[in-house]
Structure formats: structure tokens, C-alpha cells
């Protein structure tokens, strides 16, 4: 690599993570260009200049690149938009012992993610303008991946009063959600959908009936009975979604159901889309990779919210991704320290770290022929970006140079101890996977590089 740029490897930590220097001009040659938004999937080259994509296409540099630019030989690997992760918990402010924007950013870029959208369930809760500004400022300070945030839909995530949605959106909040809590009260949900409509804003729901889920720690059924653990019935998810769909119909508000986990929920969204309601949804790798048996003998790393479900549900999630019912895949990154997980199962926190495994676990769907490559990358880029009204997640002349260079076949074994994330809670220990982000670029800055 000829070089103007000084490139960072993957083994640094976020607090000291300053990002690569802005390159002058970099030419990515011999790439398989995949831009799901435009349907492009062909060999070609792409050139970035001062943080934006200057040009791209199959015939670019068909003779030879100009001699003065830095050239990256992609060796036939996939050059795609940097991944857009629409659901992460970054724990800053308030729980910096679990994760910070800096460490999360290092982990994200190692996983090919160039844009993260974080939940407002921090301490304090992001329910006012200062909270949104704090996240933006911290992300600038650590020269992180792009970080956007959701703002709380209700003050303090308490499910009662609406937040200042207009002002929050002006400050940069992309959409509104109560994070890992459902907006349970029907009247509050109706008003949230209705009021957000004023500004064309989206409400993101954690679809789970809280009364049915109360004190539950895993999926209801035989397995919960055997382990003597309190279950969360599958119906808790679809009930909330179906109620919300009625309210969407009544108000015309935009609605997104987060991390689907059950067959019935997929079917409900599928029917709503057939009726052209303004509805979208996502899921996360655990829900199409594992089922409840992963809990085995009280494995707290397999405790998450919503809980892992049955094999039939897992299959329905894959089907929902394949037929387009599910629009996006998010990491659902939920970092927790050891003290939150090395306790009896019922006392453990919910969640799995996901930034560094989002790409390889999702690529398994391609390797198993359930999704096409471009289709899958769409669920990780322009899919979520489009839902949130972001211009990211596309390869386009003049767009920001947010790129992921992906080796889709590279085999490796997941080792949570090697994660750059501050927390290591993941049930993937030693799991063989295929696919790795070889380089991650954010506005021309190389944040992660395995090419050298």
C-alpha cells in the first residue's frame, strides 16, 4: 500500500482511539462492488477523496489508476457501504464500566460497522436535548464511528409523558423509543404515534407485553419448566405488535418493531405490510442463529430480551428475512460486566454483545443459501438507514466515504476474550464462522484495517 495515510490496526482500545487520518485520495481496485440500494453487484473500483466517494463503477481505472494516489488492491473482496447498526446500547453516560462510546466504536469498526444508533436507556436517560448533544459530542471527541441516537419516547422511559420530540429531532435524535421497555399504555402509544407524525418521525417499539413478561427470564415452555425458570410467553410479542398495528392504522403514525423473535410476530408484520401500513421491523443475529436450548444448564450469556425462542421461531425469523418482511438486522449490542452475568440465571441481566459478530453471524444466512449476498448486505446498510432517514448505507458518488471491505468467506473462530468491546458477554465462544471485515472506513478515515 502506497501511503499517505497512517492506518490503525484492530488491536487498540477506544479511549485512545483516534481514528485514521483523513486520506487525500484512495483508490480501491479489484473490488466486488455491492450497493444494495442501487442493485449494483459487479467487479469494479471506487475512489475516495477527502472523505467522500469521488467515483465508482466497473470501468473506473480499467487501464490503471493514476500514479499519484494510494491504491488498495481489494483482491476481489466485497466493497460495500459501511454497516449501519440500528440498535446498540453504548452504556455511556452512566455505565462506563460496561462500555463507552470509544470502546463500542473500536468494536463496531472491527465488525465493519461505520454507523451506530444507540438506545436512550443510559443513566441519565436520553430524554432531553442535552443528552442527544452529549452523545454527539462524545462521538466527535473520540473520533468514533458515526453515532446517532434515539431519544426516549416518554420522559425517563417511564411510559407516561411524551418527550419534546420536535426539539429532540432538531438536535439530532433519529427516532423515539423507550429502549428495552415496551411503551405499554395504549393511550400513550396512540399519542406518541400521533404526535410524532407532526414531524414525520418514527416510533420504535420493544414489543413485549410487560404484564405477561413480568419476572420472566426465558421463553415459556418445556425448557423453562424443566429449568424451573419463569417464562415469558411467546404471545407477549405479537399481542403488543397487533395492538400497535391497530393504533398505526388509526393514527397514520410510522412504526418500527424491534428485534422480532417469534413466528407470529413475523406473520403480523407480513400482513401489515401487505396492507401497506407504514411499518418496518428488524431482528438480531441471536434470533436467527440460536434457540432457547442455548441456555442449556442456566447459561446466563444466552439470556436476552426478548428471550431466545423455539426452533420453529428461529426458522420463521430466517423466512421473514428471506421474504423481505424483516427489513434490517441490528446487533442489539448489550454489553454487561461479569458481575451482571455470573449470578443465578434469574438474577442476571439481559443481553449479548453483538458489534463484532453482527457481520459473520449474518453472513451465515448467505453461506446457508437462505439469502443472497446483496440482499443480506442491504439488511445491514441501506435497510436500516432508510428506515431512519439516513443517507448512509449507500455507495454513491458524492456520498460520505463510509465503507466496509469484507472477506465473506474467511473462516475464524469467535473468541469473546479478544473482543474490543469492554464487555465479553456472548454465547459464541469458539463458534466457527465465515466472514470478516477487512477494513472499515468512516468519512475517509480508516478506523480498522486487516489488509496490511
Amino acid at each position: 500500500m502506497a501511503g499517505t495515510g497512517k492506518h490503525h490496526g484492530g488491536k487498540h482500545h477506544g479511549g485512545k482511539h483516534h481514528g485514521g487520518e483523513r486520506n487525500g485520495t484512495v483508490a480501491y481496485v479489484n473490488a466486488r462492488l455491492i450497493d444494495p440500494a442501487s442493485g449494483m453487484d459487479e467487479p469494479g473500483a471506487l475512489v475516495t477523496c477527502d472523505g467522500t466517494i469521488a467515483d465508482l463503477g466497473p470501468r473506473l481505472f480499467s487501464d490503471a489508476p493514476p500514479p499519484s494516489v494510494e491504491v488498495v488492491d481489494c483482491r476481489g473482496l466485497i466493497l460495500a457501504p459501511g454497516l449501519v447498526d440500528m440498535r446498540t446500547q453504548l452504556r455511556e453516560p452512566g455505565e462506563e464500566h460496561k462500555e463507552t462510546i470509544g470502546t463500542a466504536s473500536a468494536a463496531a469498526s472491527a465488525g465493519g460497522i461505520s454507523t451506530m444508533i444507540c438506545l436512550p436507556n443510559t443513566d441519565p436517560v436520553i430524554d432531553d436535548v442535552a443528552g442527544v448533544e452529549f452523545v454527539a459530542r462524545r462521538a466527535r471527541e473520540v473520533k468514533a464511528t458515526k453515532v446517532f441516537c434515539y431519544a426516549a419516547a416518554t420522559v425517563g422511559l417511564a411510559g407516561r409523558e411524551l418527550t419534546e420530540m420536535g426539539l429532540l429531532a432538531e438536535t439530532g435524535a433519529l427516532a423515539f423509543t423507550d429502549g428495552t421497555r415496551a411503551i405499554a399504555d395504549s393511550r400513550v402509544m396512540q399519542r406518541a404515534l400521533n404526535y410524532a407524525r407532526t414531524f414525520g418521525l418514527l416510533i420504535v417499539q420493544h414489543p413485549e407485553d410487560p404484564a405477561l413478561a413480568e419476572n420472566g427470564v426465558m421463553n415459556s415452555g418445556e425448557m423453562a419448566l424443566r429449568l424451573g425458570l419463569r417464562g415469558i410467553p411467546r404471545v407477549a410479542e405479537v399481542m403488543t405488535i397487533e395492538r400497535d398495528l391497530r393504533l398505526v392504522e388509526a393514527t397514520g403514525g410510522r412504526y418500527h418493531a424491534a428485534h422480532l423473535s417469534t413466528r407470529e410476530a413475523v406473520e403480523a408484520i407480513r400482513r401489515a405490510k401487505a396492507r401497506e401500513l407504514p411499518v418496518t421491523c428488524d431482528t438480531a443475529p441471536p434470533y436467527f442463529t440460536l434457540n432457547e436450548t442455548a441456555i442449556g444448564d442456566y447459561r446466563t450469556f444466552a439470556r436476552l430480551s426478548p428471550p431466545l425462542r423455539t426452533e420453529e421461531d428461529r426458522d420463521a425469523i430466517v423466512e421473514g428475512l428471506a421474504d423481505g418482511t424483516i427489513d434490517a438486522i441490528a446487533s442489539d449490542h448489550a454489553p454487561h460486566d461479569q458481575d451482571s452475568k455470573r449470578v443465578p440465571f434469574a438474577q442476571a441481566e439481559d443481553g449479548i454483545v453483538g458489534l463484532e459478530t453482527l457481520l459473520p453471524l449474518s453472513l451465515a444466512l448467505v453461506h446457508k443459501d437462505r439469502l443472497g449476498m446483496a440482499d443480506l448486505i442491504g439488511k445491514l446498510t441501506c435497510g436500516p438507514a432508510g428506515i431512519l432517514g439516513l443517507g448512509e448505507g449507500r455507495l454513491r458518488k458524492g456520498a460520505p466515504a463510509d465503507l466496509a471491505l469484507i472477506d465473506p468467506d474467511k473462516p475464524w473462530r469467535i473468541d469473546p476474550d479478544a473482543f474490543l468491546s469492554k464487555s465479553k458477554n456472548a454465547p459464541w465462544e469458539n463458534m466457527p464462522v465465515q466472514g470478516l471485515a477487512m477494513r472499515t472506513v468512516v468519512e475517509g478515515r480508516v478506523l480498522h484495517d486487516r489488509m496490511t
Binding site: L227, S340, P344
Partner: protein
């Protein structure tokens, strides 16, 4: 198998007793046979044995219990062990820290056996991963209570001469009961037929996946049963609306003479104790010496715990004089 006879250690292939699930019929039979042996000995001998002499047993109870703890304590004393009781105040310390911190602390004291009861399912298993001694589950959450199932089995076997082919009806709050789970596993393994009876809020249909027959009607469920095993109804279940009232529960699911008449004439009544008289069981039935084996269960409790301690410590290195 010849080798197994020569070497008693291979009869029981588990380091700990965390549950009945996973034990073979041979292993269960071994424990039941040894229990019978100790039951007879306890009726005549008053001097402690020497089987566990030089061994330290710690009873670590995160949940209040008088009878189980006393039973374990007596069992260890009668085998000649030194016993320490630790009751951990659950409210005063942050829950999660207590368990693993306590485990590490106790491990450093090098006990031979740790008997643990904990209100959370899986907690005893978690503890066993952190210590080097033998761990006996004295009841974990709604998961398992293996020594209770063993003492129920000894009691049944002594009265009926067998477990194979008997029809056992387990009645009441099966969903929240570790006693029920351990009994289902044990009785299945030993060839008995198991029914569970109670309202669907306490006996969910998914229980069928355990290979049991599910009944929501006492008369039908008790029909021709050999054994009627009553479970304690935790009174806090009233608050969760699992059942509307004690009066209603007793009317439909409490064991009285009339409902018992559906079982075989010589059907035996068991209850793990402590009983809620007038809630799940009528005093008249509970105190009927001809039908109720409840006192005998308590007696067998000590014998079974002696058997477990003996069999589990067989695999430990011999204690040495210091």
C-alpha cells in the same frame, strides 16, 4: 459390571448430587438400598458411625428451612462428620455477590461436602462450578430437590415393596415445585407412571412434555392411584392470582376423604412438609396413620441423606491426620 461390584466407587458416577435428572436406575437403586440400610441402623444404633469421620460438612442455606437443614445435620453427625451450619441472610447482602463470594470463601476452608439450598433455580449448579468439594443440592428454586425425591421413593418402596408399575399422582403447585420435578424424574426412571393434578395456572399443559399425564380434576386424576403425593401451596401464590382463594383451592384441589376415595383403597399419602392444613390437605387425612406416610418421610429423610453423603464421599481421597 463385575468390576463395578469389586469397586463400589464406580456405582455412582457423579461428583455431586445436583439433581435426579441424569441419574440412572442403578444409581438411584444404590442410594435407595443404602438408605434402607441406614433406616434400619438409625432405629437401633445411637452412637455415631465412622464413615465420615474426619470429614467436614457445611450446610449453606440461603433460604430458611428447619427440617431439611436439621435432617442433613443429623445425617452428617450420625456418620461421624463435623458439621457447620451457615444461614445466609438473604436480604442484607446483594444477592448475586453473596453466592459466588460465599462459595470462594467456603472453598478456601476446604470442606469435604457442601450442602446448599438457594431460592434461585440453577444457583447450586453455579456454586458447584466454583468449589472443589462435593456439592449436594438441598433444593434450588423451582428446579430440583433430589434428596426429597429419594426419601419419597424409599418411603414408597418400603410400604409397597416396589416403584415399578405404581401409579403416582402428584397434586398441587407442580409448576413452582422442585419436589415435583425431582419426583417426576425419579419415578419415571424407576418405571412408575406419573400423573400431575392441579389447575392449569399451576399445572400447565406443557408438563405433558415431561411424559406425565396432566389432569385438572382431582377425582379423575386420583382414580386408582397407588400413591397420592400432595405439594405444599406457597401462600404467596394467592397474590399472583394463580388461584383465587384458599377456600376455593381447598374445595377443588385439597385432599379430603371424598377425593381420596377415588384412589386405590390402600393408596398411600405423601407430603413433603410443612403442611398447610385446610389448604392442600385435610387434617383428617393427614393424620390417618393407616394412609399417611408423612411421619415416615421425615424419618427416611435422615437415612437418605446419610446414604447420599456416604456414596458421594466414597470418591473423595481419604482424610489424613494433620
Amino acid at each position: 459390571m463385575v468390576a463395578a461390584l469389586k469397586n463400589p466407587n464406580v456405582d455412582f458416577r457423579h461428583r455431586n448430587l445436583l439433581g435426579i435428572e441424569g441419574l440412572s436406575a442403578e444409581e438411584i437403586s444404590l442410594l435407595l438400598d443404602r438408605s434402607d440400610h441406614y433406616a434400619e441402623r438409625n432405629r437401633i444404633a445411637r452412637t455415631p458411625g465412622k464413615t465420615l469421620s474426619g470429614r467436614t460438612v457445611i450446610n449453606l442455606f440461603f433460604e430458611t428451612s428447619t427440617r431439611t437443614r436439621t435432617s442433613f445435620q443429623l445425617a452428617a453427625l450420625r456418620l461421624g462428620a463435623d458439621v457447620v451450619n451457615m444461614a445466609v441472610e438473604h436480604s442484607s447482602i446483594k444477592k448475586g455477590e453473596t453466592l459466588l463470594d460465599t462459595a470462594l470463601t467456603l472453598n478456601a476452608m476446604h470442606p469435604d461436602v457442601l450442602v446448599c439450598r438457594h431460592p434461585e433455580s440453577g444457583a447450586v449448579k453455579l456454586l458447584s462450578q466454583k468449589v472443589e468439594c462435593v456439592v449436594v443440592n438441598g433444593g434450588d428454586g423451582a428446579h430440583e430437590h433430589p434428596t426429597q425425591a429419594l426419601l419419597d421413593a424409599v418411603t414408597i418402596r418400603r410400604r409397597k415393596g416396589r416403584l415399578q408399575g405404581l401409579t403416582v399422582a402428584i397434586c398441587g403447585d407442580v409448576m413452582h415445585s422442585r419436589v415435583a420435578r425431582s419426583n417426576i424424574y425419579l419415578l419415571h426412571t424407576m418405571g412408575a407412571r406419573v400423573r400431575v393434578i392441579g389447575p392449569p395456572t399451576l399445572v400447565p399443559g406443557a408438563m405433558e412434555r415431561f411424559g406425565v399425564e396432566v389432569f385438572h380434576d382431582m377425582a379423575r386424576g386420583l382414580k386408582d392411584a397407588d400413591i397420592v403425593m400432595m405439594l405444599r401451596l406457597q401462600l404467596e401464590r394467592m397474590q399472583g392470582s394463580y388461584v383465587p382463594s384458599i377456600r376455593e383451592y381447598f374445595r377443588f384441589f385439597g385432599l379430603d376423604r371424598q377425593k381420596l376415595a377415588n384412589a386405590k383403597p390402600d393408596a398411600l399419602i405423601l407430603h413433603p412438609g410443612p403442611m398447610n392444613r385446610g389448604v392442600e390437605i385435610d387434617s383428617e387425612v393427614a393424620d390417618d396413620i393407616g394412609r399417611s406416610a408423612i411421619q415416615e418421610q421425615v424419618e427416611m429423610g435422615v437415612a437418605v441423606r446419610m446414604a447420599c453423603l456416604e456414596v458421594l464421599t466414597r470418591n473423595l481421597p481419604e482424610p489424613e491426620d494433620g
